[in-house]
Symmetry: C3
Subunit: 345 residues, 3 copies
């Protein structure tokens, strides 16, 4: 059962060009996205009310969208404004419109009741063109429930094993120590120090080993905003393992969002980079390459996990101390589901 009253990332802003109609599916709902002449995004149910042809195969005409099966035309508010050869247009000739906002470099769509859409609740993510950062962005589709990807992002202990040759290289501490987990309105804040970690080559001028302050907010449905700050070894102790106050030597930025398409398909949007003063674009490409390799490792194991779950859906997992984040977040999701007593048509 879906949480509908929530903002979901539908696309990167640069995916939707003027004149184009983009087809997306979120929580089993097909959507058609296009831009008006002023650039503002319009999101319709991707189904003409006449014969159910997809509007994403339609044509943008000024600010309107025309179905290219039999030619019905719709204004940005969803009302049909033309039926070829028929002067009267019934009031019921309308397609559902969804609230939409561009923020950071993502197009966010509200899948529930329009009057509950709260723009202020959209989390703040990095804009790809922001001169303060060098970032690289991508996306990946999973044949899996989005909650399994959320589980993965809420328990980074897997870096020591699933990513032992990529993101977690020589970093057993990911699995051996537990992070601090703090509650947020619709998610969790997860923080930890990784002390005395081997410095990658381009950081080695600061010493052979470094302390890393790793903190992320994880918000429904799967927004993951991670900041990793690098310090000289010993900083963690000096901060008594609390949040650091001094500016880092290097700041890595990871913005990610998981979007459920259907019960067993999900899209994963991600950008990785660092402060522009810390890194050149060549180095960003390398960092991004390692990160994307790790995401393919996750995809393999999570899709296999999904198949095993579906083979025997009633089976109970073994709880361990590793699962604190996933367990707390699943409770939040259940609370959100319960709070939507009536399904929204």
């Amino acid at each position: 059962m879906w949480v509908r009253n929530a903002w979901y990332v539908a696309a990167w802003s640069h995916e939707l060009e003027a004149g184009q109609v983009l087809a997306r599916t979120i929580v089993d709902q097909p959507l058609a996205l296009y831009r008006k002449r002023d650039g503002a995004v319009v999101v319709f149910e991707d189904r003409c009310c006449h014969r159910f042809a997809p509007l994403s195969m339609g044509r943008v005409e000024q600010d309107d969208l025309r179905c290219m099966y039999h030619g019905l035309k719709f204004a940005p508010d969803g009302r049909c404004i033309e039926i070829p050869g028929q002067p009267l247009i019934p009031q019921s000739a309308v397609v559902r419109r969804f609230p939409v906002v561009e923020s950071g470099s993502w197009i966010w769509v509200w899948m529930g009741e329009s009057d509950k859409a709260d723009v202020a609740s959209i989390p703040s993510s990095t804009r790809l063109g922001d001169p303060a950062y060098h970032m690289k962005a991508g996306q990946l589709d999973y044949a899996a429930d989005y909650l399994l990807i959320d589980d993965n992002l809420l328990d980074l202990s897997h870096l020591s094993f699933a990513h032992e040759k990529t993101l977690g290289l020589d970093m057993p501490q990911w699995a051996d120590e537990r992070p601090r987990i703090l509650p947020l309105e619709r998610g969790l804040r997860v923080q930890r120090w990784l002390r005395g970690q081997p410095a990658r080559s381009f950081m080695r001028r600061h010493g052979d080993s470094l302390d890393l302050w790793n903190t992320y907010d994880f918000l429904f449905p799967g927004v993951f905003l991670l900041r990793t700050s690098f310090y000289v070894a010993g900083t963690a102790e000096r901060c008594k393992l609390g949040p650091p106050s001094e500016p880092p030597l290097f700041l890595r930025v990871d913005d990610q969002a998981v979007t459920p398409m259907t019960a067993r398909t999900s899209r994963y949007f991600y950008a990785a980079g660092a402060r522009s003063g810390d890194i050149d674009t060549d180095r960003v490409a390398k960092l991004y390459g390692v990160t994307e390799a790790a995401f393919h490792e996750d995809k393999s194991i999570i899709e296999a996990q999904q198949k095993l779950i579906d083979l025997d859906p009633g089976r109970r997992m073994l709880p361990t101390s590793l699962d604190a984040g996933p367990t707390q977040f699943r409770r939040i999701v259940q609370r959100l589901i319960d709070s939507e007593s009536r399904p929204v048509a």
Copy 2:
């Protein structure tokens, strides 16, 4: 639910060569087709009564068909006439035979009760080798309910949109005016004048614009027999928009048939051409090329439409004045379904 008491196009005549066994599926029924030595077609259920191996993997022996799993042999009437190593053949050793007729260039199969098969009810279609016409033929499979293809053929307004760059180029009149629709025994006759249409290059010696008389019979399950007659501009007015009595400058012929294979797969057979005096084979190839391009446009939109229907099967479509043909034809189909009170084994 299927209409079984009906003739369905199973194949083009030229698809079934001597000695060959062709596998087809019509209304969920697998069929094996072969020719006797005299050329007459035999149609069996494509399932040996012994262990259910497909007879379409069998071998034609004189007028008989042998299953090539364990060697049972069947006479053209469906009776088993040989079980290797077993002298007695039980009376129940029989495969179902279906009535079959070749007419025009199609092989028609009756899927219902044999005693109700009425050869006279087979519509008259163009024979591909007829010297009076230059024709070119093909076929295309849809992942869609045959009735969605029928809908498409019964509402040609979509030519102005779905085919705006092929069959409907510069022809908004398809959508802006409504045809006359007349009832037939198991279908509809649809007629209209398209006045002052831009003449394609090879017709331009008759004027820059022409009047087209467009008439087709559409018969269950999806036989579409279209004749398009071209006249000098003004002819439609002179005929008071009724059927023309004078011979056309040019006569285009389109014979098509939709055959349901399963609930969500259909085969579309088509031939396009013109009177042999009107056109050379080179021009037929061009005309056919544009037509086939348009069929791929239909296929894209109809298969997408099917997926959207199946996502939310209870949803009601918005009726418009464009839907008169589809709506009337769906009533005919429902009447045919209702008339078959008992399913035929």
Copy 3:
């Protein structure tokens, strides 16, 4: 419904190398196979008890297997012996282990209750490296119920038709005469003489035609151990059509095993060859090539048969005298199913 208290062939011994983890599925149960340092095979349920990641994506560490999602480590008896960062390991942290034996060149797994696993009941098959034989081995996956493959192997009359150009070339006797069928503990023994068969080129020094003594044991779930002995023509008569006592001119060996993976997927393991004195490796390759071509003929027809069965599951097959073997064996399978009153978790 599966028979679980049985030995199933999971793999050829040479498929499982040291350090490797092999994923297999038998009777719907995913399995992970690896070797300890002493070479002994360990078989686990292919599902970590923690978050259900597949153990077949894990890593062999000495004699243990580590899940490479979050790092849980399991001893060969299935007990979890390490959870990263967690000193206490709950008693329920265990994965199911299955009894396993290597015999001949196959890895056999017992899918039922461990205490009923009877190693003595594993049939004796040829070891691929045995100097007494020249053998060649392979495997093939079917999209079909294993019982349809069993049916095929229990009624070799199909050689005259399905394999008329390969194994059954010029051998109508396969279909025209019926074999002797004897009951075994969990299967059948099937025997026959094929008299006066055309000698293949390399046997022609013994005469243009030969008598073949063809005998196989067929054991649940689908173990097929065939020996074909070639004699000079007339030997069958001299033996009064009973088993021959004299040594054959040539002895062909075929060892095969059918393993159900799921209800509609099965794996077929096979080796073909002859006594090493009878044949050189070049000739074995030819003999194996013809045999494997025949198996692809079987696969085509059986997968088509499966589809036709599934289209109309209630339909009854026509019994013939060809079906004695399949019919008797299906009764044995039903008896085995009935004897397992309670499903094993």
